[in-house]
Amino acid sequence: MKNPYEVLGVSETATDDEIKTAYRNLAKKYHPDNYNDSPLADVAEEKMKEINEAYDTICDMRKNGGSSSYSSGSYGAQGSYRKTSYPDVRTYIQNGRLNDAEAILNGVSADSRDAEWYFLMGMIFSRRGWSEQAYSYFVRAYQMEPNNVEFKSAYENMNRRRTYQNPGYNTTDYGGCSACDVCAGIMLADCLCNCGRMCC
């Protein structure tokens, strides 16, 4: 395992607060929500896991060998799938087999295509980088089922990026977009709620 301090980019003499800030910044940057529809979703997820583990390790070490409290991989959106009509498609998308996933979806007759069908289609195109088509699928899924959390967050996430308010941007301040800060604040609050890692 890598040196946890190196992973968080802090020195071993850093204070607890500095470590917490570094962790929060990284968690904000690599939050799975940012990468949900990205071709690199799995890479980001691994990175997030590494950061979580590093933070937990440091926390444990500083508590003088107190009991380890983390459950690895608990962070983020993974594993939160509700009932799905297309389990195979989801597995294929997760494994990067986009053509296979698309073939199954294309086999669904036009009149039985539900909101999830449009959402998954959007996911496939998004991971291919064909973002305009992806967006139109996400819009459709959201319109059909505006109360579904998953579809709503895909739609909102894409809109955030289309309006240049992605929290991932704001790790270095180059000025220019104050909306980012607001958004980053919301995302940060969201992060903390999700993981509840306040041990340091």
Binding site: P39, E132, Y135, Y169, Y174
Partner: protein
């Protein structure tokens, strides 16, 4: 390549700017060395960015020495004196893309311009052959892009994603190739480096293509040349409203993939380019189509 990937000089420190300028001058010199003194004319910001990216990620630290510019002997420049493989590869990319751009121009231009380009063709073709011999991979990426682009443009109802795909694919292949030819200083395995760079390149290419299409919108509308935004039926008035979200989205994907890489040597300059300069260029180009006065220009000469 079109020269949209620039730096934003105002938000770079003096030292960072000097580093960028040294790379720019080194690439210029490399073009002179590898091809001919006239090949220095095709020096572009995009290819400089490519060299910058490689030298930034690579494990080997480049060394620079002071020298003088051949075109402007009063000007002092820094030149790279260590291994110049990255520069040489970037020079090959410049030459190959300039050649195919010329071919494209011959097909698209009016007769008097065409005549001019025809005269240039043997020279460009000689350079290109040299580049192809040395870096067949780079040349084939560019060539594949040209062929795919022609095919895409002949499709009357081509959508935006499809139109941008060839350029995006070209850059994704070229960036993905970096870990093959260079030893990078990254904490994770090569396969992952390649995937990140592939996505990075894809969206960079997509952004460049769409930027160029936005830039040429009015011209293409008049001349009837292919333009994905014309095909999509956008008008001059609602252009910004449609295009800005698309450009923003690509830019955000570029940034998301870039931030998965470990912090690299010229991180400040690359971040400056992606976070600041690209946003400004987007604004500048789209302001052509709105009544608002143009913001500050980013046309710094180096």
């Amino acid at each position: 390549m079109f020269g949209y990937i620039k730096i934003d000089k105002n938000s770079l420190s003096e030292q960072e700017y000097e580093q960028y300028r040294a790379l720019y001058c080194s690439l210029c010199r490399q073009l002179g060395k590898d091809y001919s003194v006239f090949a220095r004319m095709i020096l572009s910001f995009d290819c400089t960015f490519y060299a910058l990216l490689i030298m930034s990620l690579s494990a080997e630290c480049p060394e620079f020495a002071e020298g003088r510019c051949r075109f402007n002997p009063t000007k002092k420049c820094s030149y790279c004196i260590s291994d110049r493989k990255a520069l040489s590869q970037a020079a090959a990319l410049s030459v190959s893309s300039a050649y195919f751009k010329l071919i494209d121009n011959i097909n698209d231009s009016k007769w008097y311009k065409r005549l001019f380009y025809r005269i240039l063709k043997p020279v460009f073709s000689r350079w290109r052959n040299k580049a192809k011999e040395k870096y067949p991979f780079i040349d084939s990426c560019v060539e594949k892009m040209m062929i795919a682009q022609q095919k895409v443009e002949s499709d009357a109802c081509c959508d935006i994603d499809r139109a941008a795909h060839p350029t995006a694919t070209m850059l994704s292949e070229i960036c993905e190739g970096i870990p093959e030819s260079f030893h990078l200083k990254q904490s994770f395995d090569k396969q992952k480096q390649k995937r990140i760079l592939n996505t990075f390149g894809y969206f960079l290419g997509r952004w460049i293509y769409l930027m160029d299409a936005a830039d040429d919108f009015e011209k293409d509308l008049k001349s009837g040349s292919f333009n994905p935004f014309v095909v999509a039926g956008y008008s001059k008035e609602d252009l910004e409203e449609h295009i800005l979200p698309i450009l923003n989205h690509s830019l955000s994907e570029i940034l998301l993939s870039y931030s998965l890489l470990d912090e690299c040597r010229y991180d400040a300059i690359i971040s400056n380019t992606l976070y600041s300069a690209c946003v400004k260029i987007q604004k500048n180009i789209l302001s052509k189509y709105t009544d608002q006065p143009v913001g500050e220009k980013n046309e710094e000469s180096i």
